[in-house]
Assembly symmetry: C2
């Protein structure tokens, strides 16, 4: 309609164009475990344009899916830039998935081409014969010979680029076109494909640049620790490029001693990590002091962050931890634990330890089992639901009845939590991980947080086991440090200080180590399966249960 | 389509909701010239909901235009919040316009209701009989009696609010629905209506919050100096509310001594102003030192900013000036003079004195008279064109052939300038203000900048006069300080140091003061009209022109 605003589509092409035009001197540094090798935005943009021309020459069409099976590398970034801008769909694949999951996801996604790091090729080789849809395998690194049973073409990446001039003009895309795709890690059920649009990626990038979000700017150097195969690495390849930030891509070198080296060499200002990695760095610091004062902030997400971790990072390096909570379905930025401006002193850590408040553009609510909104008073706990312009409205090739949305259009996160008066969310559990005992909810996370403080306990998971009287009861699974045994009466006494009697587990098991998911989280689904199959013997702490749930 | 992102409309309702929910304690302070009176976001949100209910009860419908003829006040902010969120269109009216322009704009906009400050009512009263479309006049302040010749209803604002409960649920809006409207100040031709959509306002607000733009955050206190009746006051009522910033609304009290008082009382962190106001503050500071160190930045726009002004502000208070260039048509944020990160020392001022580089989401280019793109080398000067999702695609109720867009969809700004290698724009002139002499362009702005440095010259404007041989030649119009006369040979010698001979004016006029537009800019259209009508006598400096344009 003439008379209002331009119909200018939001797209990853705008992201590409701004980084290329305004920040040709910004640098992306590849880390090989020992040294950094810098490549300018100008060089990367030119290579991405060559890649775009090459992919078009391979016969890809608008909307085709292009898989990546790669670490965090400059080449992977080139795919991030070229694939969506060409109107194709960047389908990032988790390199830690089991073979059968990969076969399922690549087949379900319908990928026609696949990028792979040469050192990851051995993981793919056995399943390539099952990937009939893959017409082109493009290898980063030394050219691969023929692969038995694979009928597609194999290309060496650099030769492919050398064979094409940089693309001059991007094709048209609509803002609601698919731009990228990532399957959820599947802690429950089959993996599901989340499809990001050009619009959602652009909006998420703008949101990441906001002062009260990640505040990503030209002055940043981003250490890309989160995997680029998982929820677009917090979207930072896109937001960083749009802002013109320097980036350090550490490949597979995420071990504390390697990361420390990359930090010393590149002096990054911002990173994002799971708590485990931050813990690793703190432990390394305890042995030999590290200088991480270059960071203006460290974003931590993926699991709940203990206040003690936040305090130790601040004490060690003067660095603020920003806790972020999100999902593959939320691009992933959703809520961030930026403290309110009036928070002072010790209170600051309390706010930083919350899951966070919604960034501009996102809305959250909690509802009860019947879908009624619950009070946002910091006490009521309910199902967390959210909505926003970078939230999934469904899964790729799923039936409408499998939509994760409520009838009124909110995403059901599968998490439960509270929202306080100031709008800060506190996630207390995955819905699947709650124990429903006698009509009441028992939080597995709260029990775990209490038990992990007991001496000798290294890891803990609390899961539900079926119970004829109470429906479900908690089972605590412990991994103990060497030379320790579990003193169940003592643990019970400890828990009784903070928990109602009915919440305290009477089922206990000890294991050498807990099973983990492909992204390093404790895998409760696997634990529940072990229990169900009788493979996890547990004891009952007798003399404990009363007749009533009190 | 199931399988991609939610279809969540970007809207001002999201802006309203975030400020109301997350920042109930943030404050908007009204300044009456002497004291600040704070009102919480919670109170303002409740009042905006009452206002929404009241407007609906008056019979307004989706898409109806609601005018405001007001200073920067809390009540005006309530209209900003309630009117678009109800699906109506907030039509801000410039209180400095002449009566006939107001009649035209209000009639062309088709306003059904009109808010007015009681102290501005006398300006409206004479024209109200001509505003047949206005059914409801809502007065902020003491209730007005009947107005002769006005047939609509007159409402006292507070009584209207008192008569309604807060609206519980906003109606649905689409993101491309009109939300606000502002007529260009019309330095050329009739005023034209720019219509902002819900989408453009939301995107502009996000852009304003980005770290490398205004970085508006919960930690800010915004002194709202730019008029809320002009291009939404740099969009800050919306972006500030979305971010949860405190705001100070200074009403009509923009005189240096009043602003100084508001600053001392409220300690704002951010403001935006035209260079004149900043100059006023510096002059006041020279007389009696002022403490403006509370500002983290001062945004300056509306006219080109001299490097000296930027340096003096930094020297006086340690405050950075961010120059911004935009138009009513660009919401207005378009380019900002944030220096590149590698700028150091004296170089920083050079970057800050540029018009700026495009914020994320905006694209700029320069073209020659035939529409061919020009090199972006800092030297080539051409017509500036731009595009982005918060740029006007046309004017309200204008014919398609009057569209300001090029055939390929870029907005023709009417400005000329250069773009350098780093993507920074330097506006050199309005296209209309360029002097086309013998096929070459002469920049009126460059001549003015040189002449204003000569002793005794208070104001200067250079405009084109028709010339039989060269098509156009420059006329310099000077306003001199008392007791000064113009030494034309000396001025000519001075200009010859920096300008080619053909660029130097041979036509000169002296006036007591130069005409100004309603927003305080020197009004070249009025000067050209005076010249055309023979009302501005000028002299020809003889013995100067050579036979050739060399």
């Amino acid at each position: 309609m003439l008379g209002t605003m331009m119909d200018q589509p939001l797209s990853t092409q705008m992201i590409f164009a701004r980084g290329e035009r305004l920040f040709p001197r910004s640098c992306v540094s590849h880390f090989d475990g020992d040294t950094l090798t810098a490549c300018s935005y100008a060089e990367i943009a030119a290579r991405a344009r060559r890649l775009a021309a090459a992919l078009a020459a391979l016969g890809l069409n608008h909307g085709d899916r292009v898989g990546t099976f790669c670490w965090n590398t400059t080449e992977h970034l080139e795919a991030y830039l070229a694939v969506p801008a060409m109107g194709y769909v960047l389908h990032t694949l988790n390199v830690r998935l089991a073979a059968e999951q990969l076969v399922y996801i690549i087949g379900h996604g319908g990928d026609r081409a696949l990028f792979v790091d040469a050192d990851l090729l051995p993981l793919l080789t056995p399943i390539l014969p099952q990937l009939a849809g893959i017409e082109h395998l493009i290898v980063y690194g030394p050219p691969a010979g023929p692969i038995p049973g694979f009928s597609g073409q194999i290309h060496a990446y650099e030769a492919l680029l050398d064979g094409h001039e940089p693309l001059a003009q991007w094709p048209q895309v609509a803002e609601t076109d698919a731009a990228a795709m990532c399957y959820t890690s599947g802690t429950t059920g089959a993996p599901k494909g989340v499809v990001y649009t050009h619009r959602s990626i652009f909006l998420h990038s703008m949101a990441s640049m906001m002062a009260d979000a990640f505040a990503i700017s030209e002055r940043d150097c981003i250490l890309m620790v989160p995997a680029m195969f998982h929820a677009n690495a917090w979207g930072m390849p896109f937001s960083g490029w749009l802002a013109g930030s320097d980036m350090i891509l550490p490949g597979r070198y995420l071990q504390p001693d390697r990361l420390t080296k990359a930090i010393a060499l590149g002096r990054p200002t911002l990173t994002a990590a799971v708590p485990t990695i931050l813990n690793d760095l703190l432990q390394a610091h305890a042995r030999t002091p590290l200088d991480l004062s270059c960071f203006r902030a460290i974003i931590v997400g993926g699991s709940a962050v203990a206040p003690a971790l936040i305090e130790r990072v601040k004490a060690a390096w003067g660095v603020d931890v920003i806790q972020g909570w999100g999902m593959t379905e939320t691009s992933p930025l959703c809520v961030l634990s930026i403290p309110p401006r009036d928070a002072q002193g010790a209170e600051v850590v309390r706010w930083r330890a919350k899951s966070g408040r919604p960034v501009a553009g996102m809305e959250v609510r909690i509802v009860d089992d019947t879908g009624q909104r619950l009070p946002e008073d910091g006490a009521a706990v309910g199902h967390l639901q959210l909505r926003g312009p970078w939230v999934a409205g469904g899964y790729y090739r799923e039936r409408p009845e499998d939509s994760p949305l409520t009838a009124d259009g909110w995403l059901q996160t599968g998490d439960v939590g509270s929202i306080d008066e100031r709008g800060y969310v506190q996630i207390t559990d995955r819905t699947k991980d709650l124990i429903k005992s006698g009509g009441e909810w028992i939080s597995s996370v709260d029990l775990e947080n209490a038990l992990i403080r007991a001496p000798g306990i290294v890891e803990v998971a609390v899961v539900a086991v079926p119970d004829p009287r109470w429906e479900e009861r908690p089972l605590a699974v412990l991994a103990l440090a060497e030379g320790h045994t579990a003193d169940l009466p003592a643990l019970r006494s400890q828990l009784l200080r903070d928990f109602a009697r009915f919440m305290i587990p009477e089922f206990w098991a000890c294991v050498p180590t807990l099973p983990k998911t492909s992204v390093g989280k404790i895998d409760k689904k696997a634990i529940r399966e072990l229990v169900g199959q009788g493979h996890l013997p547990f004891v009952v702490e007798t003399g404990f249960r009363t007749g009533d749930q009190d």
